[in-house]
């Protein structure tokens, strides 16, 4: 946007400039709000991550890189040797693994669902979409406890499996990683279905027909015609599921029985009983960076041109 001074400007350029200025001015309140409300708190978190923990809570205003050091490395509390922070890495890896699995499960379940809805007639479509959004009417915590009720040893799942004679005694599903995965897949499924639906709805089915006319089989049509077109929907859905899964707190806490932490629970520990706010802050920033890396990866993956063939 650099304009060289002294150069004669056409009336048109003048008008464009005025319009740009007006647009900037009009969006100024929104930009200011975003800066204050979004960057402000983030800045506090960032600053806190470079301070020392206070004795009982809060921080001491002394600069320190200790919190960042603690994330990756730990001084063994017993023999004082410095090594990789095994506990922290395990927790991070569990979070990433569970979030990726959640994304994959919701994608596998969501794609046929979205396809089904998008290929119905107008009124039926509205009805099915309405059903998809119903879970959002209830608080997340209540839905999670409902899942807990179903997975319990005396819950619906175990009871029906037992009455069907498939198992002799209840299997322990609750308080395992499986329970967390079931809960997260359930909670985030609508976030996958909706963008997929939007993408499939725009799909021009004449292209599919053209594919068949050119002797492509079903798999080829799906891979070479449908998939490239709905890819933005897949990317959007995956982001919408992966990002909140990574920071999930309630679901692992309630369904996982609190035995194995995810990042969200680990951060909470630092602000609560651990009384180490700087470590909690640096972990929060790290989580943010992972999310940003994931977003960048997706953006690049979705903008890359598909080779024609």
């Amino acid at each position: 946007m650099t304009l060289e001074a002294g150069q004669p400007r056409s009336l048109e350029a003048e008008a464009t400039n005025r319009r740009i200025r007006r647009n900037w001015l009009l969006s100024l309140p929104a930009i200011l709000l975003l800066l204050v409300a979004a960057s402000g708190p983030l800045l506090i978190v960032l600053v806190y991550s470079f301070l020392k923990p206070g004795d009982f809570s809060g921080v001491v205003w002394e600069p320190s890189f200790n919190a960042w050091f603690q994330i990756l490395f730990s001084r063994d509390i017993f023999d004082d040797t410095v090594g990789l922070a095994d506990a922290h890495l395990t927790i991070f890896w569990r979070s990433v693994r569970l979030s990726l699995s959640t994304t994959l499960i919701t994608l596998v379940l969501g794609l046929p669902t979205a396809y089904f809805i998008a290929t119905r007639s107008g009124r039926q479509r509205t009805f099915w979409l309405f059903l998809i959004t119903i879970p959002f009417w209830t608080n997340l915590l209540i839905r999670t406890f409902a899942i807990l009720e179903m997975l319990r040893n005396e819950g619906i799942v175990n009871n029906s499996l037992m009455s069907l004679g498939l198992i002799a005694e209840p299997i322990q599903i609750l308080y395992t990683d499986t329970a967390v995965l079931i809960g997260m897949a359930y909670v985030y499924l609508p976030l996958m279905v909706l963008p997929l639906y939007a993408a499939i709805e725009r799909l021009d089915f004449r292209l599919v027909e053209a594919g068949y006319d050119l002797y492509a089989n079903r798999l080829q049509v799906f891979r070479k015609v449908i998939l490239p077109i709905i890819k933005p929907g897949i990317v959007a859905g995956s982001i919408l599921v992966f990002v909140p899964s990574l920071g999930a707190y309630v679901t692992p806490r309630v369904l996982g029985g609190g035995k194995n932490m995810m990042i969200g629970n680990f951060i909470e520990l630092q602000f609560g009983q651990g009384r180490n706010w700087p470590l909690g802050s640096s972990l929060s920033i790290l989580l943010l960076l992972i999310v940003m890396a994931a977003l960048l990866f997706y953006v690049r993956a979705s903008s890359r041109e598909e080779p024609h063939g």
């Binding site: 809570s57 809060g58 509390i77 308080y175 520990l269």
Partner: protein
């Protein structure tokens, strides 16, 4: 989020409007499911004061919120080992309960306590123990031991819950291996870590909500507080409470007035009010813990006076210990062990 903001502003408006009607107000910040509504009603009637009770779930939550300021609370009920932190940070009003008319009712052993010498700040609310609760139909052996969760008997493997209270659990394990609370002795702490890490695969979960889950039989065994176990036993008679002979934590929650209280006079009235035996009995009748006020037993239901969860067996009395507030180095060591346990 938006609804809660709306609800908050609505309550704020309500609070403003009620100010004009009641003679006074009192804002109490206390643990959840812990305050007898009858006690509050009685106090409101006696002193024409409108009382609002707000809940918290942990000492750290309460301390953080109060330190941040702007909370509007008059009274807080921290656990004994947190009282010195409040005092040191200058958050409490020296209300001198020891000079109040009902102070004579406080039991002799609660009149002078290490965390509040001569009771210049706080009044007893309730006190209790942290031990183990076991469903006796699942396990019939000796339950007066921390081995219930640190080395579970075969019947309880995979069925034990451990409440995620870092201090309680690590200190109980310290007692179990023969250490002192808040120790920085690494050989002892290493034993603590090894015992905990070895025990964890035999646990079912690490969660709260013990009263309900003991009642329903979902937790055949759990680390638990005595009053909560008492409430569970009333629903499920097979539940029994064990006092670990290796050592178990004692605690007392104490009523203190905040320095920036807007209604300090009403708060003082409340402190004096709950030292009246009849009123202290109301506190205990609800949450099922002992209260430290002499003569309150006379007003309590019969089952309170004889409950094995309230009356500590003579032989196990000496195993109970008040926990000091650990800070600095030992806290960091505790957190490191705790993180490794939950990784």
């Amino acid at each position: 989020m938006r609804t809660s903001m709306l609800a908050m502003s609505a309550t704020a408006l309500l609070a403003l409007s009620t100010q004009a009607f009641a003679a006074g107000e009192l804002n109490i910040y206390n643990w959840g499911n812990y305050t007898n509504p009858e006690l509050i009603k009685k106090f409101e009637k006696a002193h024409d004061v409108k009382v609002t009770v707000t809940d918290y779930d942990s000492n750290t939550t309460a301390l953080t919120k109060i330190e941040a300021g702007g909370h509007g609370f008059d009274i807080v009920v921290p656990t004994g080992n947190y009282v010195p932190i409040y005092v040191e940070k200058g958050l409490l009003l020296e209300s001198r309960p020891d000079q109040m008319t009902n102070f004579k009712n406080v039991s002799e052993n609660w009149k002078d306590v290490p965390w509040d010498p001569k009771r210049h700040y706080t009044v007893p609310w309730q006190w209790g123990t942290t031990g183990v609760a076991v469903d006796t139909s699942v396990y019939g052996g000796d339950i007066n031991t921390s081995a219930i969760f640190l080395d579970p008997p075969a019947e309880l493997v995979g069925k034990v819950n451990v409440v995620p209270e870092m201090n309680d659990i690590i200190n109980m394990t310290l007692f179990y291996v023969g250490g002192e609370p808040c120790t920085t002795d690494k050989t002892v702490l290493k034993k603590v870590r090894d015992v905990l890490v070895a025990a964890k695969p035999k646990w079912l979960s690490m969660d709260y909500g013990t009263t309900d889950k003991l009642s329903s039989g979902e937790y055949p065994a759990t680390v638990n507080w005595n009053g909560s176990t008492f409430r569970a036993r009333l629903n499920n008679p097979k539940v029994a409470y064990g006092y670990p002979k290796e050592g178990y934590p004692l605690w007392m929650d104490a009523v203190a007035i905040l320095k920036d209280a807007k209604n300090p006079e009403n708060a003082k009235l409340f402190q004096n009010f709950i030292m009246e035996p009849e009123n202290a009995a109301l506190i205990s009748a609800f949450a099922r813990y002992a209260n430290g006020i002499d003569g309150s037993e006379a007003f309590m239901p019969e089952e309170m006076r004889t409950a094995p969860e309230i009356v500590t067996p003579e032989a196990l009395k000496s195993a109970g210990q008040f926990l000091p507030t650990c800070s600095g180095e030992s806290r960091d060591l505790y957190t490191a062990i705790w993180t490794e346990l939950q990784k």
